[in-house]
């Protein structure tokens, strides 16, 4: 962390009249930012005799770390998994639009696809910082193809794969490169998966368990090999059974290595997870809850009929149906909606609701040294919210990138 001692001429912004989320509490403190990072004002005062060049009156609003969405398949008519000549354009659109939902960085997620799609899409998108043009890309979340046939959900069956006794080699052939990948979802019951989990973790990639028939001991084994996340808890896994709670049992397992936390993704849109199930998970393991949108192409589109690829879908409120049916075609809730719904459904505090969309995903990805908190030295990725948790404005690296009504 650079010290304030290295005196900088860069302008300093002081957010005043705000409550900031720090150390799990909302505190009536000012927030200071210089060069895109959160500044320790006491050091500035005593070491540099410095002061703010600009003051932003927040009018009593809450400042939270920018939201991090580790599972988003697309939105606003864009599907990251559909290969096109210029994926970058679609990704730019999504990354720009999610700013208004408080998301400042995300993991674009690809569902099970043929190797050709990975080879085409992955090289086009690089890990990149956010800015006025959109939320930052933390790296891909590759959900599949190493998942269970029985729990494939909406993933295309013909592209599912096993490791074919070749482990990481097969995975590398499928994906082509892991350079800009931050997370892989796989089913731990697949033969050879443990060595793959270990190998991926060694390369700094987060392994998530999901779309799986795994029993608890298989899941625990994967965690002991390094897996640390559960993809959309309750969805696409064995339902909780008291004699074998399956992957869900990881929430209260006593086989988690000391000092480690298993996180779990939760689609808190009020549709994909019953509020009672959401409460069960939250009360059992509050510190592991990570809000994800798992948003699909239709997120952010207005109500009515839309043609998306081969499908016609109909949006009614928060539901996206395959047109003419009552079949859900995926989540269209935005991150800020999920935060509000989670708070309302779980009865948790404002702090907890905000941390589930910021601190927890950052802990999961191991990036708390720069994201997911408002500690000194962290990136000044911020959301300003009112007490109903509606977004007022969004900042990336201390720069306003979206403002309500602007």
């Amino acid at each position: 962390m650079p010290s304030n001692k290295s005196v900088s001429d860069a302008p300093i912004t002081q957010f005043i009249n705000c409550r900031i989320l720090r150390d799990h509490m909302l505190k009536g403190e000012d927030l200071w930012v210089r060069e895109g990072k959160i500044l320790d004002p006491e050091k500035l005062f005593f070491d540099e005799q410095g002061f703010a060049d600009k003051r932003v009156d927040c009018d009593g609003s809450i400042i939270a770390p920018g939201f991090i969405d580790v599972q988003i398949n697309g939105g606003f008519g864009i599907d990251f998994s559909r290969p096109s000549e210029d994926i970058g354009v679609g990704l730019s659109l999504v990354s720009k639009k999610i700013l208004e939902h408080g998301v400042t960085s995300f993991c674009p997620t690809l569902v099970t696809s043929p190797p050709a799609v990975y080879h085409k899409v992955l090289p086009q998108i690089k890990v990149q910082n956010g800015g006025p043009n959109g939320a930052g890309v933390l790296g891909f979340h590759l959900e599949g193809p190493y998942i269970s046939m029985e729990k494939k959900g909406a993933h295309p069956e013909q592209y599912l794969r096993t490791f074919r006794s070749r482990g990481i080699e097969d995975l590398m052939e499928t994906y082509g490169s892991l350079e800009d990948v931050s997370m892989v979802t796989l089913a731990p019951e697949l033969a050879d998966s443990q060595s793959v989990v270990k190998e991926l973790c060694q390369r700094g990639i987060t392994v998530s368990l999901g779309h799986s028939m795994a029993n608890l001991s298989q899941a625990e084994d994967a965690v002991q090999h390094g897996a640390s996340f559960i993809t959309h808890l309750f969805n696409a896994m064995l339902p909780f059974h008291h004699r074998d709670p399956g992957i869900v049992g990881l929430l209260t397992s006593d086989q988690i290595p000391a000092g480690r936390t298993v996180f779990y993704g939760m689609i808190a849109d009020g549709i994909h997870t019953n509020p009672a199930a959401l409460r069960i998970a939250h009360r059992a393991h509050p510190s592991g809850l990570v809000l994800v949108t798992d948003a699909i192409t239709a997120m952010g589109l207005p109500p009515g009929r839309h043609t998306l690829g081969q499908q016609v879908i109909e949006i009614q409120g928060l539901h996206a149906y395959v047109a003419g049916t009552k079949t859900l075609s995926g989540s269209i809730a935005t991150m800020d909606m999920c935060v509000r719904h989670f708070k309302q459904a779980s009865g948790c505090s404002i702090e907890e609701a905000l941390e589930a969309a910021s601190l927890h995903p950052a802990q999961l990805l191991g990036i708390t040294n720069r994201k997911g908190n408002l500690d000194y030295g962290s990136d000044a990725d911020l959301v300003l919210l009112n007490d109903d948790l509606n977004i007022i404005s969004t900042y990336i690296s201390g720069e306003e990138v979206w403002k309500k009504g602007a």
Binding site: D30, P41, E42, K43, L44, F45, F46, E48, Q49, F51
Partner: protein, 276 residues
């Protein structure tokens, strides 16, 4: 000397804060005319600082043209240690108001040459034109700043070894571990405070009652260093009822009878100063 007796701590704090506010306002400070304010640390002034912050936030008070000089600081304690007086001033006053760092002065207990640091502090006070109003608290043994019993009443800013009692009392701020408690401090002298144009001493709580009695009803004595201010031309003691417990009825009645006069000093300001 004025003795101001208020019902309780909160009222005493508010009175003191209003007094400071009015003094700064009446001084009419500006870019070429800074108000110089001496400041204490400890639990006694906390309520007063809270009020000053409130006045700043209401637009009744600005520290833009105020220079502050703190009374003391521990030797060898890291500046960002939560118990350092730098941390105290930052957390309880400076961070909340519009004061510029360059206008605040706190002795550096980590200076390579402590003697030179103390001399420089005296020079800085002089360069600022002396202290307009020095605010202080006292210990139960009647010490002002770290001028413990027996300190010279003409002392200047210097290094002091802390009394055993003070070290023991401070242990509660250092995990109850005596070995962690600083044993030395830099402090302004009694003479340094005496040089201020005006001195205001805050004394609250029954445990300070004997010290208040020694301060004002007995003679000047270096074993109760605060008693030196009997010889100051313009001193104000602000206390609560509890602190008067050891005083004579006559003393208390006399000063209470003056309250209607003294309260004029803290009346609302004649006109609303412009918000900074």
């Amino acid at each position: 000397m004025k003795l101001i007796i208020l019902n309780d701590y909160d009222q005493a704090s508010e009175w003191a804060a209003k007094y400071i506010r009015n003094k700064i306002f009446q001084f009419n400070p500006g870019p070429n005319k800074y108000f110089t304010l001496g400041l204490p640390t400890g639990s006694t002034p906390l309520g007063c600082y809270k009020k000053l912050i409130e006045y700043y936030k209401n637009g009744e008070l600005s520290f833009q043209y105020v220079k502050t000089f703190n009374m003391d600081e521990y030797v060898g304690l890291p500046r960002d240690h939560p118990e350092s007086y730098h941390s105290f001033m930052w957390n309880n006053l400076f961070r909340h108001v519009d004061i510029r760092a360059e206008n605040t002065h706190i002795l550096d207990g980590n200076a390579a040459d402590l003697r030179a640091e103390c001399d420089a502090f005296e020079e800085k006070i002089k360069a600022a034109g002396g202290i307009e109003l020095f605010v202080g608290g006292i210990g139960p043994d009647g010490h002002i700043a770290f001028n413990e019993p027996g300190s010279s009443l003409v002392s200047r800013t210097r290094v002091k070894t802390l009394a055993k009692d003070t070290i023991m009392a401070n242990a509660r701020f250092f995990d109850g571990d005596l070995s962690k408690v600083p044993t030395m401090a830099l402090t302004v002298g009694v003479g340094t405070v005496m040089d201020a144009k005006e001195v205001m001493i805050l004394i609250t709580g029954a445990h300070k009652a004997f010290a208040l009695y020694k301060a004002i009803e007995e003679g000047v004595n270096h074993m109760w260093t605060v008693s030196a201010f009997q010889q100051h031309p313009q001193s104000v003691f602000v206390c609560d009822e509890d602190a008067t417990l050891e005083l004579r009825v006559k003393t208390v009645k006399y000063f209470k009878g003056m309250m209607h006069v003294h309260n004029r000093l803290v009346e609302p300001l004649p006109s609303e100063p412009k918000k900074n």
